[in-house]
Symmetry: none
Subunit: 213 residues, 2 copies
Amino acid sequence: MKPIDIIIVDDHLLFSQALNGLVSNFKEFNVLTVLVNGKELVNYLSQKKQKPQIVLMDIQMPIMNGIETTKWLKENYPEIKVLALSMECDESTILAMLRAGAKGYLLKDIHPDILYHAINEVNTKGFYYTEIVTNSLLNTIDNPNNKETFLKERELEFLKLTCTENTYKQIADIMCLSPKTIENYREALFAKLNVKTRIGLVLFAIKEKIVIL
Amino acid sequence: MKPIDIIIVDDHLLFSQALNGLVSNFKEFNVLTVLVNGKELVNYLSQKKQKPQIVLMDIQMPIMNGIETTKWLKENYPEIKVLALSMECDESTILAMLRAGAKGYLLKDIHPDILYHAINEVNTKGFYYTEIVTNSLLNTIDNPNNKETFLKERELEFLKLTCTENTYKQIADIMCLSPKTIENYREALFAKLNVKTRIGLVLFAIKEKIVIL
DNA sequence: TTTTTTAAGGGGAAAAACCCCCTTTTTTTT
DNA sequence: AAAAAAAAGGGGGTTTTTCCCCTTAAAAAA
């Protein structure tokens, strides 16, 4: 039986290298490479190298984080399955990752055996969802004022720029919109997020990890 | 030559188990056990089991964290050397750990070879300090504009209120100061923190964990 | 195909934030 | 005891943000 090809993407070299050893111990798994951020994965795959079945992906990474990378994979290599490996267990991160297309979400404090099981499940069944994930989903479903889902792409873009020292005029330039249109975005978000000031927008964005500091 | 006995203390099982494999690959090292928090280490040592020369210690752990545990070791087993392994690189954590008695401080994004080198150095020379540690020390000692220390109580209070939807006028009321005085605080912080807008203050405060969301 | 929603833009005005330069009093250093 | 630093307050100004109410064109839904 052919082993499952895996790529590890994590900026904590000590962890990823150690994980490499751990995963490689199982003869069912074959680690193709260990990369330190999403950009490296994009480069790797662009070079027509061997494609993995599964990517073990960290979320917080410099340059290109796990969420962006997973989105990119869904667009360009939908057959590659992403298993998220993170220390974060806050709902918004989990949901962002699932929405981006992750097939599973594991915390780094799990036992190695669970990782072994999860990789196999993702490979055969296509997904592996732990209790933590299902709980997040349930919370979101029956909570109608669930903020994130109803923020559109362009609004997110605006929100991210709001969390900088740019004035709205500068944001308008960056987004190629009129300052007045930007005001509409602002007011729309004020209403949706139930805040009254730009500071409120920034706090929301950071709390929900729409921007990461 | 006798191998160096090591204990790994880290609550991220996936990491610690993987690290175990990594460290055990070197025949110079012998991992006695892997524990998930400081309390377990205290129990382990109390049972008169084999003492390690070196403890690889995480900082953020439930029940008994790395700083407390390192302090306890310094009191009770000063001959055991602690090498801190952390993802945090903020000055205050590093300093707290050094003050507690750690003989070295490594970030988890280092290359495994550096860990190998660090363990050997700690064992023979008694310490291993990377650039990140020395930089922290230097910053604290001779840098007068070392962010945290030179923010005064009242400025911190102001900064925290700045990270709310209160206007400066409201902040003035809360702090029982004139709005004009508040403006002075603002301008002083702009200069000190090298930002230009209230948003900049908020981002700084959150980044430095002066306010926690 | 009509209706509704979304995206884009705008006028005008009040409030808040930003900026620079200044005084007085108290506390701390030297 | 004199000098320096910190804490509090202010004048007068520009820019930015906030707010409300309005238009048009395109896209999506009914």
